[in-house]
Symmetry: D2
Subunit: 281 residues, 4 copies
């Protein structure tokens, strides 16, 4: 039986390869997590179980997709980055973004019970994520993207920490707290925390203040070429599957993080590491 | 603390709204399901549990996204369609496709244990899906798309049924069977099945021969306007959440299916149904 | 000498084929024509020479590109339409739009002296045009696009006719006239023209009130297929080159225009006409 | 009269802004120039009048669009480049490419008579150009693009010079010459030219061997910021209109060209030059 009569519909699929030699960031966001976090009783302002689940799912994605070179997460969002020399799926945008979103979701749902053993998922309220792919033409702008997210983490966490302390410890009405915080500076919020509640924001946990950065504990391979062939790419993938994936809560705005891990920006990873720091899941 | 220094990176996100007044089909495919079906021991040529799981996940997507008007699935793929008048997420391609892929994945993983109670998922081999959005400018071409998928279902299922019967019942080597089937017509395969194994292909189960079509058992609302306002859209969504979602295994190539369910192509659904046929999950 | 070292840069060119089976409208606009019309002393509100030049250039485009099926122009803008079955340049957007813009510009500059014999062009103030391609999924929406332009023609011409009559015949200051016209309805402008200046707007020339529509005086070919092959396309092009190109100033909002020239919307032109009406250039 | 009924068609125009912070190259090509050069009797292998006309038109474009920072032309093609910090027309692709194509065409047609005084243009064979915009993420790749075009210039010119010398001076049949040149190296062609015709290819004119590069004779402004504001952009445009536009025939593959004119790659032009070399038109 000939299929040709209808096969012309394939011609309506439009190509969507991303521009070569650009950083690709796939950022995913929880859908309706405000409502969902209420539904499943997430602790305010930060639920450590929920963040650990996000990180575990992201580690799963990093392991399943060795082409990824770094990821950064805060709250219910995660950014996954491919180096400019990445050729995965011929750089097709929809393929890259849906693969990451689906893989993340699969791990998240699969691991839910591990992190929320007493709160089973309900079929009418399953967590899900949307995503988008964005190109950044060079490493300076890519790092500015990463800095943007970490600054956002700081701003949001300081606000949320102050707000929920005022509500939960201070007994304030939510609207009242919101009103008082409107227009305040970081220093104002620090002062509220310290003077009224004896809380030194600096002593808050790093995972809340800095977010989570995930990378491979490898070394720069001096042998790798700028544009690896398909065979080389496959070799690198195999090697990277053996490399330890690390979850860290450190500053990624300053140069130090990047200078100490040159394989991330160089796009020439692949050597097995000689030491590892903190191993994920 | 000002965020503005890095916020410029937001300008790199490019708009991706799909052309107005076109059908949008989001087709998702299982990633590496050939290997995965071996890994989890799917029965050949058709594993009813796996198909039922696909359908259950698709029903979950249809219920979570009332803007969807129809879905069609075969094997490890599913196509979800939005009517040309759909305004969901301002028709942004990445948002639409990732939401569907993630929601489908969430249901699939969540429901796995229901359909494979004796085959637990393993974290290193979690099922995942990729997807893409395609526009079709009118109902004739959209129906040709749906026909294309159902013809594909027929071609693949006849081939697979014959191939696996030759291997499993006929004791043939896989390569041998492949070689014999090369270049055969439908009639040849029907004859092999009937003469050698006494199997009448017409008696095979409809779900294998026709695939699965999912729609709402509603009625055309004569009151609805061509381009519903945001408020009207919300009303329609609410109404559609109450409507029964039906899984069927019928011909969608001929006119009859569409003529009996005019609300699908008209894009004017919303009236509560007076009767329902087969209710999903 | 090997070129391969640099040839990789070709991979940065991104495909831009427009969606199949959609109407393609390329609309071009004069760049800075407000200033340019002052520079070359165009007559207000309508300079017949300038409009005739626009039409002559558009006829040139229609003759050079037989794939075009209709064009409509007002003031310093022109819309050129390709039928959904058009395959020219594999429907690549940039190729289609630049070819039309360049061909139009070439004719416009070449013919300038014919229409403005006493006003030579100056190299620092050469007329030029920009353009864009827009897809419309079906004939109803394509006709709405054409109607939109003709309604715009009416609105602008009624305003301009009233404004410049107030200024040139009424001796009013420009700002004064602008202020008085602000917020007025069509009926108000008609009354100003009639009561103050004895002008019946209905008697104005059709080219000003209706704009200019250009099409081929051919007949529907009952023999043509829905999707003509490359050879058939070439035959149709040859045939259409012999067909007379007509410039008309008539209503294109009502059905009559389209019903009397069914080959435009059917996309099945090609038969040589048996009669012709008004032959262009 | 309300226009709103049809105005919805505007929503079908899709945004097409190019990625920020990338080089934009608009390359235009003569349409059907093989046939056209025969039609108007262009001299083989190089018609100096035709090249001078191309360059004059390109200078016209550079003067009309001060945002352009460099252009390079060979044969009937020209590449125009915008720096990554360019904000012209909000970087909309169609607007950029059509403006350049139209402006180039206008100058080309307008100047035709100056360079071909004895060969008037004919309305049925007007020269026209198509074009496309391509993004390059950094200066290294942008320079590779420019090198690619200049290497192409060399390859084509050596071939054409040898071919036409064999035909015009050697009296060979075209097919014969083509056959003999098939598969030859640069050194082979140099030898044919030298041994058979006493021609030293190195002594050919630079414009034929190197193509034409056009830039502004300005200086790097140490004062300019990375991302100039709209007001600053307008100031820079004004300043650049006064700067001399230079046409050169030099190597642009090696570093020297770029190191001596740092304002091109830095994107910080604007200072009035203290000396000029060769002034165009």
């Amino acid at each position: 039986m000939a299929n040709s009569k209808y096969e012309y519909v394939k011609s309506f699929e439009q190509p969507d390869a991303l521009l070569p030699n650009t950083w690709i960031v796939v950022r995913i966001d929880g859908r309706g997590f405000h409502k969902l976090s209420d539904h499943y009783g997430f602790i305010k302002p930060n639920d450590r179980r929920a963040l650990d689940l996000m990180n575990a799912a992201a580690v799963g994605v990093m392991k399943d997709l060795p082409d990824l070179c770094i990821a950064y997460g805060i709250s219910d969002e995660y950014s996954f980055a491919f180096h400019p020399n990445c050729q995965l799926f011929e750089r097709r945008s929809a393929k890259l973004v849906t693969t990451i979103v689906s893989t993340f979701t699969a791990h998240y749902i699969y691991l839910w019970g591990t992190y929320f053993p007493d709160t089973p998922l309900q079929p009418a309220a399953l967590p899900s994520f949307d995503g988008r792919a964005v190109m950044y033409p060079n490493s300076r702008i890519f790092r500015d993207y990463m800095s943007w997210r970490q600054v956002d983490c700081h701003i949001n966490n300081l606000y949320n920490t102050t707000f929920w302390t005022m509500v939960l410890q201070g007994g304030m009405d939510r609207r009242e707290a919101e009103l008082e915080l409107k227009g305040t500076l970081s220093s104002d919020k620090n002062e509220i925390l310290f003077k009224r509640f004896g809380i030194n924001y600096n002593n808050e946990e790093e995972i809340y203040k800095k977010g989570s950065v995930i990378y491979r504990q490898e070394e720069t391979s001096p042998l790798q070429e700028d544009t690896p062939s398909k065979t080389q790419q496959e070799k690198i993938r195999k090697l990277r599957r053996k490399v330890q994936v690390v979850v860290d809560h450190v500053d990624i705005i300053k140069d130090e993080f990047w200078e100490r891990r040159p394989w991330i920006l160089s796009g020439k990873p692949g050597k097995l590491p000689t030491e590892a720091k903190q191993v994920a899941s």
